[in-house]
């Protein structure tokens, strides 16, 4: 059984093994819901308004930063895999330029205030 086939088997085994306690709990545990018990728990206060509120725009800015950086760092991984077989110095110079572009992007975001939490 190579690589991914085993992972497939493992997902199934892990899911079954972790669902069994839930089934046992469903059989053993008491089940007496009532309207007051199943109210949303917010420290004793009655919940007010809609839960799915709008979220802070700052989260969106960080998500954008993440998308940029994660994709760019993914490009570094093939380079890193091949690193031990480089015979010349040119791949290293190319990588330095690439990382400096990343640093430049980070410096720009920093300067523009995208990294501040308001």
């Amino acid at each position: 059984m190579d690589g991914w086939a085993f992972v497939g088997i493992f997902v199934v085994v892990a899911a079954v093994l972790l669902t069994v306690p839930l089934i046992i709990a469903a059989l053993l545990a008491p089940r007496k819901p009532n309207p007051i018990k199943s109210e949303t728990y917010e420290c004793g206060m009655e919940t007010y308004g809609d839960t799915r509120v709008q979220f802070k725009a700052q989260y969106y800015v960080y998500a954008l930063m993440f998308a940029i950086f994660d994709i760019e760092t993914i490009f570094l991984l093939p380079w890193a895999m091949a690193y031990q077989e480089f015979a010349t110095i040119f791949p290293l110079i190319e990588m330095i330029i690439f990382v400096l572009i990343l640093v430049g992007g980070l410096a720009y975001a920093w300067r523009k205030g995208a990294l501040e939490w308001f």
Partner: protein, 421 residues
């Protein structure tokens, strides 16, 4: 008598079982599938046993750190406490809040736990013995010997984030939703230094296969990759949602964050996910930086667990010593410190290793000198980074002082001069 390759009890058992199944005339493909099933079951059980040990150990250690005794009634030294906890969790009522999205609400704890357990598929518990085990090449002492093992750890580790978001969104609770927001922001951000440090590891090791990473460590990689190890450890703490990065489930601010509405066994599954994930981070650190299973006398898997639990002890120590970050501090620490440091670290390692290679000092030819020089370079980088951190922290502390506290800024008030005649 069967020749036992690798001289290891588990390999011997697997070889014997395989030979027995073949001897009663079962098909080879069927035998392969059964062996894979057994391996998967063993791995999942290892993860569960690790969880049981950790819950007990963590409570004992926190008690000692806080000058208490900890669980001591259930069995000697309270070692039966996890079993008591399990019985309690199983017999507690499982409530579903009004207005919850029931299917997502029920699926989230299972996904969280499964995602954490999945990491164990690529952890190498011992060397690949090679040779022949009952008509097939002996497998490694790992679930699977994937060529992209390290990348798999990264990918599967990020799945728990989806579970957290599912739990927070489906609970129909504002605290849970706030916790999920924070979790997404935190885990997304700390993914970046983690990927960068994995790039540095891969660059030096030249492979992503976990077994081979251990085999190429002529000197433990914690020396040439010291800064990388620290960055990976910190971002691993954040990814597993451990203190001081536990503002996802900050009890004093948002009650319990994303798992506020969960009770009984589902709540336990979230805890299982968190602890098993944290231990998986320790196991990856053991594999990549601390020579993995290698060690004298004792079998490989014993060394593997000894080292992993030693790293886990440091994690617990940090958890019970550090106060929690605020979210702005958390983000600033990641984007303004960890990301630049890991970028610089990557450049430094690439240049340093290439320079050393040009004078014929490499991992293979002169491991001690190679590791020593890179370790010195790491210490220099660490020193500069800590100096910059301290400087900017002092500056921001001075900038943010409340106005009343800036005594030197207050101009002395001219008291009216009373002149009489």
């Amino acid at each position: 008598m069967i020749q036992i390759p690798g001289n290891d009890i588990f390999i011997a058992l697997a070889t014997w079982l395989r030979q027995w199944m073949l001897s009663i005339g079962l098909d080879v493909v069927f035998v392969d599938i059964v062996m894979a099933l057994i391996r998967a079951l063993m791995l999942a059980i290892v993860a569960l046993v690790v969880f049981i040990v950790i819950t007990w150990l963590e409570r004992k250690v926190v008690a000692r750190i806080q000058d208490r005794i900890g669980p001591n009634l259930a069995g000697p030294w309270g070692i039966l406490q996890p079993i008591a906890d399990a019985i309690k969790a199983i017999t507690k009522e499982d409530t579903t809040p009004a207005g919850a999205d029931v299917h997502i609400f029920n699926a989230a704890p299972i996904l969280s736990a499964v995602a954490a357990v999945l990491v164990y598929a690529v952890l190498p518990f011992g060397p690949n013995p090679g040779g022949d085990c009952a008509g097939a090449p002996c497998g490694p002492m790992a679930g699977t010997d994937m060529s992209i093992g390290l990348f798999y750890v990264l990918a599967v580790g990020a799945v728990s984030l989806i579970a957290v978001l599912m739990a927070g969104w489906s609970s129909n609770n504002k605290y849970a939703l706030l916790g999920a927001f924070r979790a997404v922001a935190e885990l997304l951000s700390y993914e970046v230094p983690q990927v960068l440090s994995i790039a540095a590891m891969v660059m030096i090791a030249g492979t992503m296969n976990m077994t081979q990473i251990v085999e190429v460590q002529t000197v433990p990689f914690i020396f040439p990759l010291f800064v990388t190890a620290l960055v990976f450890f910190v971002s691993g703490l954040a990814e597993a949602g451990r203190s001081p990065f536990d503002l996802v489930e900050a009890e004093s601010e948002i009650v319990a964050g994303y798992h506020i509405e969960y009770s009984g066994m589902k709540f336990s599954l979230f805890f299982l996910g968190e602890f098993v994930h944290a231990f998986a981070v320790c196991a990856v650190i053991t594999t990549v930086f601390l020579n993995g299973w290698q060690g004298p006398i004792l079998p490989g898997w014993v060394w593997f667990f000894v080292k992993s639990f030693a790293v886990y002890f440091i994690m617990m120590w940090i958890k019970f010593t550090m106060p929690r970050f605020r979210i702005d501090q958390l983000m600033a620490f990641n984007w303004k410190f960890l990301v630049p440091v890991s970028l610089l670290n990557l450049l430094m390692l690439a240049v340093g290793d290439t320079v050393l290679k040009s004078v014929a000092i490499t991992r293979e030819t002169n491991p001690l000198l190679w590791g020593g020089i890179l370790f010195m370079a790491n210490l220099a980088l660490l020193f500069v980074a800590m100096w910059a951190l301290g400087r900017s922290a002092r500056k921001s502390r001075l900038d943010k002082r409340p106005i009343v506290a800036r005594v030197e800024d207050v101009k002395p008030v001219q008291s009216p001069v009373v002149t009489s005649n």
